[in-house]
């Protein structure tokens, strides 16, 4: 009994991975094959990019502030508080800016994609679209993926900038250090590989969070309860995968560009 349950679960997982791979591959190919629905891309860019701006600014700002607070107390033991700016900027740009933005946008948009598409599935709107001769993958999924990738890149830059500003505010106001020194330290030690790491990651995270959100939405079954399940699965899976993929990308990039 237990063996058959394990076997069934294993098969379900393998099947889901296979379905997701095919789905994500087809959606990816559609990025380069006409027709591309530019209007839908712009609408999704507005929803994902402009809509996520407040949460990204706030989370970036306070993360930078916390980094400055935590690092200052540790660095002061070594008399190295002057490198707080370097610490905050490197951490934000190389790691936290991309990961935090990815997770915030996954929470906001991966869930909305899953619930929106899931609702369309259970009310037969997706079938109606197919019956009207329109490919839902091209019309609904590809613009969301395209918009998520491009917007997450820009949002990450915004998060990085506000993180460094947040660190500066804490450094100057709470830690009573020199602001110019903070910004000099933050800027001078940045290298090409740091910027590259920070800008490559959001491309992967944007693709992940949108393709997973759309995938769970499009395979929704079981009415409104199923929509709820799809939404939870989309957020959990995309958030966990963002962190896992971050580890892999960081490892690869550190191998290519050793510090």
């Amino acid at each position: 009994m237990a063996t058959s349950a394990i076997e069934r679960t294993s098969k379900d997982i393998v099947l889901a991975v296979q379905e997701y791979s095919l789905f994500a591959w087809r959606a990816m190919l559609n990025l380069f094959r006409p027709p591309i629905y530019w209007t839908d891309f712009l609408m999704q860019s507005d929803i994902i990019g402009v809509g996520s701006l407040p949460i990204v600014i706030l989370s970036g700002f306070f993360t930078g502030g916390v980094l400055a607070l935590q690092s200052a107390s540790t660095l002061s033991e070594f008399g190295a508080t002057a490198v707080t700016g370097r610490f905050v900027s490197l951490t934000m740009i190389r790691e936290l800016g991309a990961v935090l933005t990815g997770i915030m946008v996954a929470g906001r948009n991966s869930s909305s994609m899953a619930s929106e598409l899931g609702s369309m599935v259970v009310t037969e709107q997706i079938d109606a679209m197919r019956a009207l001769g329109v490919d839902p993958l091209r019309k609904l999924v590809t613009p969301r993926i395209f918009a998520s990738i491009s917007m997450l890149l820009l949002l990450t830059i915004v998060a990085d900038a506000f993180g460094i500003v947040g660190g500066a505010v804490v450094t100057v106001i709470l830690n009573h250090q020199n602001g110019t020194q903070y910004f000099n330290s933050a800027y001078e030690h940045l290298s090409f590989s740091d910027i590259l790491q920070g800008l490559v990651k959001p491309l992967f995270f944007g693709y992940l969070l949108s393709s997973i959100g759309c995938f769970y939405g499009m395979r929704t079954t079981g009415g409104t309860e199923g929509v709820g399940r799809s939404t939870i699965s989309a957020v959990v899976t995309s958030s966990v995968l963002i962190i896992a993929v971050d580890f892999v990308i960081t490892h690869i990039l550190l191998t290519i560009f050793p510090t």
């Binding site: 009310t123 037969e124 709107q125 079938d127 109606a128 679209m129 197919r130 019956a131 009207l132 001769g133 329109v134 490919d135």
Partner: protein
């Protein structure tokens, strides 16, 4: 009987010579369980209206979705407009689906779009100019008697109005085949009659072949016993003893086709299940 309705009842010589619009041969389907449909074979000829009867949950909607390629059969072949579609990849099906219209059971209108954008959905995708779209949407909405809903959202429409908008959406592209999935299900008798009148109008004025799924016998008999009078602009009963020769019946029971014939065949069959269904 008006000239228009007399013409509409008889298929033209060209239509009779052409092959069936839809043809199913030995189609079976299941969803990881017992078969939903087993060995289904029938066809829809040009100008023909086929009424698919059967109790709820017998696989009628599944059959409609198979015909338009929304679902795939486990076994058998499906020809739509002469092309075998059961093995056709999804991207090649879109061009065939554009030629057909489908009215879904629960209307399936896009709830984030206005009635205008719902009805014009195909035209918008084809980048038809806005003024042409507006004029054709007005025409389609006039056909279903809902011109005043042009700028409304589906949420503000009643169930019957949604079905009529769904019919307008299915008809705007002048389809070569219309599939109606329980268009009167869950509606009051007056609204049901309005919907059936629209279907009779489409049948008699445009001679569009169609397949109508229903479990309501009164709808089936109304379709058979009425014609659309173009001059009076409404449906009128045929004289006693006359029926529409192009309206024929199919009946499903436990996933199998148990009847394929005319109204006469339906009411005179010896099949026990059909007799119980009729009674």
């Amino acid at each position: 009987m008006s000239q228009a309705s007399i013409r509409a009842e008889q298929p033209t010589a060209g239509e009779q010579e052409a092959g069936p619009v839809v043809e199913l041969r030995g189609v079976s389907v299941d969803f990881d369980g017992p078969p939903v449909l087993e060995d289904i074979s029938f066809s829809v000829a040009p100008g023909e209206t086929r009424v698919l009867l059967g109790p709820a949950g017998v696989g009628k909607s599944v059959l409609l979705k198979l015909i338009i390629g929304l679902l795939r059969p486990r076994k058998g072949t499906i020809h739509l407009f002469g092309e075998e579609i059961s093995g056709l990849p999804e991207e090649k099906l879109f061009s065939l689906r554009v030629r057909a219209g489908m009215v879904f059971q629960e209307s399936a209108l896009f709830d984030s779009l206005t009635v205008r954008d719902n009805v014009a959905y195909q035209l918008i995708q084809e980048r038809t100019p806005d003024d042409v779209i507006d004029s054709r949407v007005h025409e389609a909405l006039r056909f279903v008697g809902l011109e005043e809903t042009f700028n409304l959202y589906p949420a503000s429409l009643s169930g019957g109005m949604k079905r009529r908008v769904a019919i307008a959406r299915a008809l705007i592209h002048e389809p070569e085949l219309i599939l109606y999935d329980s268009p009167t299900g869950g509606l009051d008798p007056v609204t049901s009659t309005t919907i059936i009148e629209l279907i009779v109008k489409q049948r008699d004025v445009h001679s569009t072949p169609s397949l109508l799924v229903t479990h309501r016998l009164q709808d089936a008999f109304t379709l058979c016993n009425h014609r659309f009078d173009v001059e009076k602009d409404h449906m009128v009963p045929l004289p006693d003893g006359e029926t529409n020769p192009n309206t024929t019946f199919l009946m499903l029971d436990e996933g199998r086709l148990i009847l394929d014939g005319s109204l006469h065949d339906l009411v005179h069959t010896d099949n026990k299940f059909v007799r119980e269904f009729l009674e």
